[in-house]
């Protein structure tokens, strides 16, 4: 039976001791299994470390660095043995074949096994990350609740504590807050403050004055805003919220928005939130309202797919084709849903995003679950003023014998979402109003759905809701 050179055995023994130390430190059975299965290939003793302890301490980078160091140990050994051979005046056949065997063992056996071990550690890392991602949101929510409670008990104020009327605007997929900023400005009243933080972290402040709206050219910081003589907390604050990932899942938006509102001092009993949302932003705002119903006084959505959506289903199934339309349906979103149908996998990383959500879940499912799990919250949701606006395309055709007049023909959708889905018919009496607006659009590339935020009727609706304190 072929025996490994003693010098290689010696190095392997040192590595085995270190491996046992790693196993004990991580206290992970998965890590132990990876080391044991790899060590069996060496035919040089076995790993004997046992796994104990309540906490797993797993650092993939650190373990991989150690394995890389082991590979380097063997490289150094190989080079030293070759150099020793060259220094011999007249090396024998046994001397030469010994070094050749060492070289072969290192290059074709040991290195291969160590690479395989690194692959297994990476795989474990991915599995741990996927599992951790699923629990991140509940932990985030728990931390948010603790943070809010702590702030309340210790009377910790945020920079905008004191504003009683706050409007929050949430955009849909593939979008940012720019369009909502324009519409919120148009709907705002004199004295109102608008804050827009984009996903790059840039914040712009706007103050509505009698002469017009002062923007970042005048108000460059929160101090400027507060030092402005027209700043008053009696006015309404408009928060144009931009999601961290443009296609992130509604639960992640709700968790992050909660963070933001606590930080600003706006999640408390005195502050009432009016939520405005477009497209998937409607689901995001609905999620927030389900998480914090006592803080939300109204939800107003337009173009929101409350039911499963055909287009996003297609984009989710065929991400490459969606990519041709500049849609990133497989965009990583740092959230994993417990519903396995509401997930996607990219490079072995599991996550959920807006596309998986619209493909797999109707809002009525979550509302139904909420109703049975927590009737109190459902009742608060029922008391909330919820308006689900449907936008719809139309086209004009000549009419009359001479074709001198025109008639408008309306579609049953806005180019992306059906009227039934936008109206959230499936949510029944939970929705208080279901208006329908005719919105201009052009074909599938620039349908009504794209122009809903800027529609005059919707802006007028925002204005009305903002005025009703």
């Amino acid at each position: 039976m072929y025996q490994m050179d003693p010098i290689l055995k010696q190095i392997l023994d040192i590595h085995r001791a270190q491996a046992e130390d790693i196993i004990q430190r991580t206290a992970s059975k998965r890590v132990r299994d990876a080391f044991v299965s790899c060590w069996n290939y060496f035919n040089n003793g076995s790993i004997s470390a046992s796994v104990s302890g309540d906490k797993i301490r797993f650092d993939a980078d650190e373990i991989i660095q150690t394995i890389d160091k082991w590979i380097k140990d063997f490289e150094v050994c190989k080079e030293a043995e070759i150099a020793k051979l060259y220094r011999m005046e007249d090396p024998s056949y046994q001397d030469r074949s010994r070094v050749i065997n060492i070289q072969n063992d290192i290059d074709h056996h040991i290195r291969y096994i160590y690479q395989m071990l690194k692959g297994k550690i990476t795989q474990i890392d991915i599995e741990f990350s996927n599992a951790a991602r699923a629990y991140r949101s509940p932990i985030h929510q728990a931390l948010n609740d603790m943070n809010r409670l702590y702030s309340e008990m210790n009377d910790i104020k945020g920079p905008f504590s004191g504003f009683k009327d706050v409007s929050v605007y949430i955009h849909g997929i593939e979008d940012n807050g720019d369009s909502f900023l324009d519409s919120a400005k148009k709907a705002a009243n004199i004295g109102d403050v608008l804050i827009y933080e984009n996903r790059d972290g840039d914040i712009s402040y706007h103050l509505v004055t009698e002469e017009g709206i002062l923007g970042p050219e005048v108000i460059k910081s929160i101090d400027d805003l507060k030092n402005n003589k027209e700043f008053s907390k009696d006015a309404r604050l408009h928060l144009i919220y931009e999601t961290e990932y443009k296609n992130e899942h509604r639960q992640k938006t709700s968790d992050d928005l909660t963070d933001k509102l606590i930080e600003m001092g706006l999640l408390n009993e005195e502050t009432k939130l009016n939520m405005f949302a477009h497209s998937y932003g409607g689901r995001r705002s609905f999620q927030f309202a389900m998480d914090y119903p006592e803080n939300v006084s109204s939800i107003t959505t337009i173009g929101t797919p409350y039911d499963e959506n055909l287009l996003s289903g297609l984009a989710n199934t065929f991400p490459t084709i969606a990519g041709f339309m500049n849609k990133v349906s497989d965009e990583y979103s740092d959230y994993l849903d417990f519903n396995t149908l509401n997930t996607t996998t990219n490079n072995q990383i599991k996550f959920s995003n807006a596309y998986t959500d619209m493909t797999s879940e109707e809002m009525k499912e979550d509302v139904k679950n909420l109703k049975s799990a927590n009737p109190e919250i459902y009742s608060q949701l029922d008391d909330m003023e919820i308006t689900a606006v449907a936008g719809r395309d139309f086209h004009e055709r000549p009419s009359g014998r001479l074709g001198t007049s025109t008639v408008k023909y309306y579609d049953s959708h806005d180019g992306a979402v059906s009227i039934t889905s936008q109206h959230a018919e499936s949510l029944g009496s939970l929705i208080d109003q279901r208006p329908t607006y005719a919105i201009e659009g052009e074909s599938i590339t620039n349908p009504a759905h794209s122009n809903e935020i800027e529609s005059e009727e919707f802006i007028e609706l925002i204005r009305k809701v903002n005025l009703s304190k």
Binding site: E174, D175, S179, D202, E210, I219, T445
Partner: protein, 365 residues
């Protein structure tokens, strides 16, 4: 080839449609100009100034700022100076920056580092009960603003100097607790405080101009021999004909200096096609003389930026002054979402034949 053909057709159209202005041809460059022109430096110096500041072109070399410092007690006007060279140096790193929007934001917020305080102008302080105190050398005078303008002594006031000349100062007093005509008050005064004049509203200005009471301060008001403009107003005072002209600012965009009118420039969205700009006096006269005609071709801009766009969602003027225009464009993505944004920056001069549009996103909306 296609672009050349469109440019050729565009040129023909402009030649045939415009009788009183030279045709221009457009070219596009992605990024900022390789060096800043005087008009661009003025924009940078204007956009970056602190809140409650006004900028005054000092001479060929630089700018003077007057800044109403609300953090002091009593609140006062501070004066600063900066040179064009300092502005250019401060913003030099913007031109080659990989993220021009973020860099622009950083540099504008840090602009006060190149503003040097100066003390050659009168001390102006707003004290308790809205008592305005002015000092120059040994001379000191006080004005009870509440009494002069029929305001409350506790009203929140903002004092600014929208115009400054070698001899005189135009003080604008804004009452943020008032509304309409009663919101603004004006004081014209000589730098040495030997004379001052208090004016309440636009009609008084016209009357005072006509009867010669403001002759000493004409350099602060006049656009030309016939017309005057109150800072921030959109009505021209025609003191020759003793009347006022509305520039219809709900529809038209008036340049910062009041000298030019972009016809239809304040509409909801700037349409693709030809846009006409007039001198203010030509606009008032109802003339068809155009200072410049601009061709906005969004398809060309989309192609230059290599944006997969389903159309322009928003387009508006964000800066318009003598010599420089900056537009904001936002592009829709197909079905839903945003495809991107850009600012379009171009130099403006009369009868400009070759117009270059610089396409750079500075985040100006």
């Amino acid at each position: 080839m296609k672009v050349k053909f469109i440019l050729f057709i565009t040129s023909l159209f402009v030649l045939s449609a415009c009788t009183n202005s030279a045709a221009s041809s457009e070219s596009y460059k992605v990024g900022l100009p390789e060096e800043f022109s005087p008009a661009m430096l003025e924009f940078l110096a204007t956009y970056s100034m602190p809140m409650y500041s006004t900028i005054h072109k000092q001479d060929e070399d630089g700018f003077t700022y007057s800044h109403f410092n609300v953090e002091n007690n009593p609140e006062r006007i501070d004066y600063f100076i900066t040179s064009k060279k300092e502005v250019a140096n401060h913003f030099a790193s913007l031109i080659q920056s990989d993220n021009q929007e973020a860099r622009f934001n950083e540099l504008t917020k840090d602009f006060e580092s190149v503003m040097e305080p100066i003390e050659e102008y009168p001390e102006i302080e707003l004290g308790e009960d809205n008592l305005l105190t002015l000092r120059s050398g040994d001379k000191e005078t006080s004005i009870e603003l509440a009494e002069k303008f029929n305001w409350n002594p506790e009203d929140e006031l903002v004092v600014s100097i929208p115009r400054l000349s070698d001899k005189s100062i135009f003080l604008l007093l804004k009452n943020t607790d008032a509304s309409g005509e009663n919101r603004n008050g004006y004081i014209l005064l000589s730098k040495d405080l030997t004379s001052s004049f208090v004016v309440g509203n636009r009609d008084s200005f016209l009357k005072n101009l006509n009867n010669g009471e403001l002759n000493e301060f004409k350099d602060l008001l006049l656009l030309n021999e016939q017309y005057a403009l109150i800072p921030g107003d959109t009505h021209i005072l025609d003191y020759e004909n003793k009347t006022t002209h509305d520039l219809d600012a709900t529809k038209n965009k008036i340049s910062r200096d009041g000298k030019y009118v972009w016809l239809g420039g304040n509409k909801e969205s700037l349409k693709k096609g030809t846009h006409q700009l007039q001198r203010t006096e030509d606009y008032i006269a109802g003339s068809e003389d155009y200072y410049a005609e601009i061709q906005l071709d969004y398809d060309d801009i989309t192609d230059e930026l290599q944006i997969e766009s389903a159309g322009v969602d928003a387009s508006r003027i964000v800066y318009f002054n003598e010599g420089l225009v900056i537009l904001y464009l936002r592009f829709n993505s197909a079905i839903t979402g945003t495809a991107g944004t850009t600012n379009v920056i171009f130099e403006l001069s009369e009868d400009q034949e070759n117009l270059t549009f610089y396409l750079a996103d500075l985040g100006l909306q």
